[in-house]
């Protein structure tokens, strides 16, 4: 394997780590904000389920990233490197600003920007990008709809119960399962984006044929990196997701995480790279909105939406600069 490909693979794993650091905080936001687990145990819990997700999900999302965003003819090792650098820089910038943006869309935007600046818009695969673009809107809305349904169902099922303390205790236990399910969904969808990048590099470097499947060592290393990223996860975004969007009770936490997990399971099964951040945000808003719209802090939700809109162009622009620099260096 050539040295350039090895360097890009190491950067891809670093991106996966930052993804865990940046996005995986969402896995534990609700479980920490409802005080079901202490922050330290919540992080370990989420990291474990991030890692074991490889036992459950196939690698459809990795195939989409490697083969359905940019034409394989345009995906050189240099372009993939520039795309990754754009995504990593964007992730770090938004982490510093405390914005819960999408690492996934930063990656798609980065790859697209790095390729377009070299070979023009013709290298973009419109069908793949259209599906990813549609699910930028759909994944939070599906999470929101499921969050609404579950919250209303829980309210309806338990509205006669008066022993609130006991009920909360039950939901606290339930939240351990729902947080685990969400972490599985997160690991299943997000780690695969890195696998897709590594697969693309291995194909571009000639180490694998264009129709190759994701090798097992790639699967294991991607899940290890995202698990470690979660373990060292950041707290600024936990604060925005868990405390600022709406106040959550344990029942709301169960509803939000279950709704988001179901959405992620669907997306992973269909091979659609979606943002775990978008999905859990939608689900939390759904839980808040089922009570009353004023329970949602719309200014914070609006800031989140604004961050979604600028992620793809922002990451694409940074990656384009890196792509030009890599091209100039030969």
């Amino acid at each position: 394997m050539e040295i350039g490909a090895i360097i890009v693979i190491l950067f891809a794993l670093a991106f996966d780590f930052t993804n865990g650091f940046h996005d995986a905080a969402n896995s534990i936001a609700t479980v920490v904000s409802t005080r079901v687990l202490s922050p330290r145990f919540a992080v370990i819990w989420a990291a474990f389920f991030n890692f074991v997700a490889f036992l459950i999900f196939s690698t459809h999302v990795a195939d989409t990233i490697a083969k359905d965003v940019v034409a394989q003819s345009a995906l050189t090792v240099g372009v993939i490197f520039a795309g990754l650098m754009g995504a990593i820089a964007w992730n770090l910038l938004t982490f510093w600003l405390g914005l819960p943006t999408s690492s996934s869309h930063a990656l798609v935007g980065g790859m697209a920007g790095a390729a377009v600046v070299r070979d023009g818009f013709g290298v973009l695969i419109s069908e793949g990008l259209r599906t990813i673009g549609a699910f930028i809107v759909l994944s939070p809305l599906i999470g929101l709809a499921l969050g609404l349904i579950l919250t209303v169902a829980i309210q309806w099922a338990f509205h006669r119960r008066t022993d609130i303390e006991r009920l909360n205790k039950g939901f606290r236990r339930g939240q351990l399962a729902s947080a685990a399910a969400f972490s599985l969904g997160h690991g299943g969808n997000d780690a695969q984006k890195t696998m897709g990048i590594i697969l693309a590099v291995l194909i571009a470097a000639g180490n694998l044929p264009p129709d190759a499947e994701v090798p097992l060592w790639v699967v294991l290393s991607a899940h290890t990196a995202i698990g470690l990223g979660t373990l060292f996860g950041g707290w600024r975004i936990v604060k925005t997701m868990g405390f600022k969007l709406t106040r959550l009770q344990p029942a709301g936490g169960v509803a939000a995480e279950t709704a988001a997990a179901a959405t992620l399971f669907f997306a992973s099964a269909q091979g659609i790279p979606v943002s775990t951040t978008h999905t859990i945000t939608g689900a939390i808003v759904g839980v808040g909105a089922a009570r009353r719209l004023s329970a949602v802090r719309w200014r914070v939700a609006g800031r989140v939406v604004w961050a979604w809109i600028i992620t793809i162009p922002g990451a694409a622009a940074i990656a384009a600069v890196f792509s030009l620099l890599v091209g100039a260096m030969g």
Binding site: L138, L141, I142, L144, A145, F266, L293
Partner: protein, 61 residues
């Protein structure tokens, strides 16, 4: 006046319907989500009307 949650649900349902043509392969999944939102819009409207009627009967309005 209708419950604001009904307007919110209606808006979300229309947003799903607007995006649906971009993903014809997920027609049934997206239409199901749009239907859920429209059902919630109706549900919230009925709940609001019912709450107002109860309040009026009890002399609060």
């Amino acid at each position: 006046m209708t419950d604001r949650r009904a307007y919110f649900s209606l808006g979300a349902g229309l947003a799903v319907l607007a995006v649906q043509p971009m993903v014809p392969q997920y027609r049934w999944a997206t239409l199901s989500v749009a239907f859920i939102y429209l059902a919630f819009a109706v549900l919230f409207t009925i709940a609001n009307l019912s709450a107002k009627r109860t309040a009026k009967r009890n002399g609060h309005l």
